[in-house]
Each structure stands twice: as structure tokens, then as C-alpha cells.
């Protein structure tokens, strides 16, 4: 029985290690190299791409043991929980189990391009047309739906 518990504790320890490694990988999004790309030089110009990076993740784990039952040993029957001459009881665990899980995701989007040239430094913004289109569609669809509802109530 204790072997099973030890195995379980070992698997929980391994799970904990894997979890902390994953978290470390997620935290690497908070690194400058994740935001700014390698500078690219061509002629008199050097370009540094800049992006916003977001990452997130969650995890959970747990373990449990079966409800203890009294195991009797000896010849004469004894009431549960008591120890008497000729027979004794001891608490025995009826199995154990554990498990864990997690999930996460990351995104990156270009924000600007830093151009270093003979004229100086220029920051050129990058417009994400797809994201803007989705926002516009969502916002105006919601506004139109609300307007129609208000107009119909009249």
C-alpha cells in the first residue's frame, strides 16, 4: 500500500516540476527579446521589429485517498475502532489516486517598426487590419442590434 502512495507522491512531484518548467516558459514572454526582434541592417538603415506578446496558462492538480476502513486481525471479532485481547483493528487506506491538468496559450502581434537611418530614428506603427475589421464588425453589429431593439420598443 505504502508503495502505491510513494508512487503517487513521486508522480505528483514530477507533475509539480513539469508545471514549474511550463510556467518558466510562459514567463519568458516577459523578456525583452520576445518584444523586440533582432535588428536587421541594410545599407544605411537598421530596422528593429517590435511586437506585443501575451501568454497565459493555468493548471490544477489534486490527489486523494480512499476512506479508511478498519481491518481486523486476530481471532476474535472486535468492535470497530477498538483494540482488545485476541484481536486488533488498524486503519487501512483503500487506494489512492491523483491527477492534474493544465492549459495555456500565447499570442504575438507586430506593433511597430523602429527605423534607424541617416535622418534619425523613426517609429512606424503597424496597423492590424484583420483585428480592426473584427472589432468594427463586432462593435457595430452590437450597436445595430441594440438600436433595433430600442427602436422596436418605441
Amino acid at each position: 500500500m505504502s508503495e502505491g502512495v510513494n508512487d503517487l507522491l513521486e508522480s505528483v512531484r514530477k507533475d509539480s516540476e513539469a508545471r514549474s518548467q511550463t510556467l518558466q516558459r510562459l514567463l519568458s514572454a516577459a523578456d525583452c527579446s520576445a518584444v523586440f526582434g533582432q535588428p536587421v541592417s541594410s545599407g544605411d538603415y537598421t530596422v528593429i521589429p517590435a511586437a506585443e506578446v501575451a501568454a497565459g496558462g493555468g493548471f490544477g492538480s489534486g490527489m486523494g485517498f480512499g476512506s479508511p476502513r478498519m481491518r481486523r486481525s486476530g481471532s476474535s471479532p472486535a468492535p470497530s475502532g477498538s483494540t482488545e485481547a485476541g484481536g486488533s483493528t488498524e486503519a487501512a487506506v483503500e487506494g489512492a489516486g491523483g491527477g492534474g491538468g493544465g492549459g495555456g496559450g500565447a499570442m504575438g502581434r507586430p506593433v511597430a517598426v523602429i527605423v534607424v537611418g541617416p535622418e534619425g530614428v523613426e517609429v512606424k506603427p503597424v496597423l492590424d487590419v484583420t483585428k480592426l475589421s473584427i472589432t468594427a464588425l463586432g462593435a457595430f453589429a452590437a450597436a445595430a442590434a441594440l438600436s433595433i431593439k430600442m427602436w422596436a420598443k418605441r
Binding site: 506578446v53 483585428k131 430600442m150
Partner: protein
């Protein structure tokens, strides 16, 4: 009150990060980024759960010429455009709502 603030400080971490310098003649360019990390739970050991959210974005570029340093902001044009679109949608809703109310009062 202080313990609540300490808890929030432990949970939310704000960082200013500096990227590698680019040197061209007398010009030195240093990109600067900001990062926010939110940690919830994550106790080591048996059982429990936790979550981490990290967001980093470029905030500025420090330009040094002959010892003088100026700061050029990095504007997130997409974010501002999104805010403008949402604001326009809210204005539209307000306009329809005020017109509807006006008509209701008149009738």
C-alpha cells in the same frame, strides 16, 4: 490594508525591460518595453492550482546623440483604433437611445 497591498504586489509584477542597444555612429538607440505579470496560486506541493498571465509591449525608444537622450514613444496604433471604433459604437447607441427617449416624451 497593508497586507492586501503586499498581496497584490506579490501577485502583480510590473517591469521595465531594456533591449539591446543599436549603435550607428554617434547615435545610440535603446528599445524599452513594459511587462506585466499576474500570478495566482501556484503553490508547490500536493494539490492546488494556479495561473500566470504575462503581457509585454514596446513602450519607447531611447535615442542618445552626443550625450543627449530623447524618448520616442512607440504608439500601439491598432489598440487606439480599436478604442476609437468602440467609442464610435457607444456614441451611436447613445444617439439612438436619446432620440428614442425624445420621441417617447413627445408622444
Amino acid at each position: 490594508m497593508r497586507s492586501v497591498r503586499d498581496g497584490i504586489e506579490r501577485m502583480v509584477e510590473l517591469q521595465t525591460l531594456r533591449g539591446p542597444e543599436v549603435i550607428r555612429g554617434s547615435l545610440t538607440v535603446t528599445p524599452v518595453a513594459r511587462s506585466v505579470t499576474v500570478r495566482v496560486g501556484g503553490n508547490r506541493g500536493v494539490g492546488g492550482g494556479g495561473a500566470v498571465i504575462v503581457r509585454s509591449w514596446p513602450s519607447a525608444v531611447l535615442v542618445s546623440v552626443d550625450g543627449r537622450t530623447s524618448r520616442v514613444r512607440v504608439v500601439n496604433a491598432t489598440r487606439w483604433a480599436q478604442i476609437a471604433i468602440m467609442f464610435a459604437a457607444l456614441l451611436w447607441i447613445y444617439e439612438v437611445w436619446s432620440r428614442t427617449r425624445e420621441r417617447k416624451e413627445r408622444s
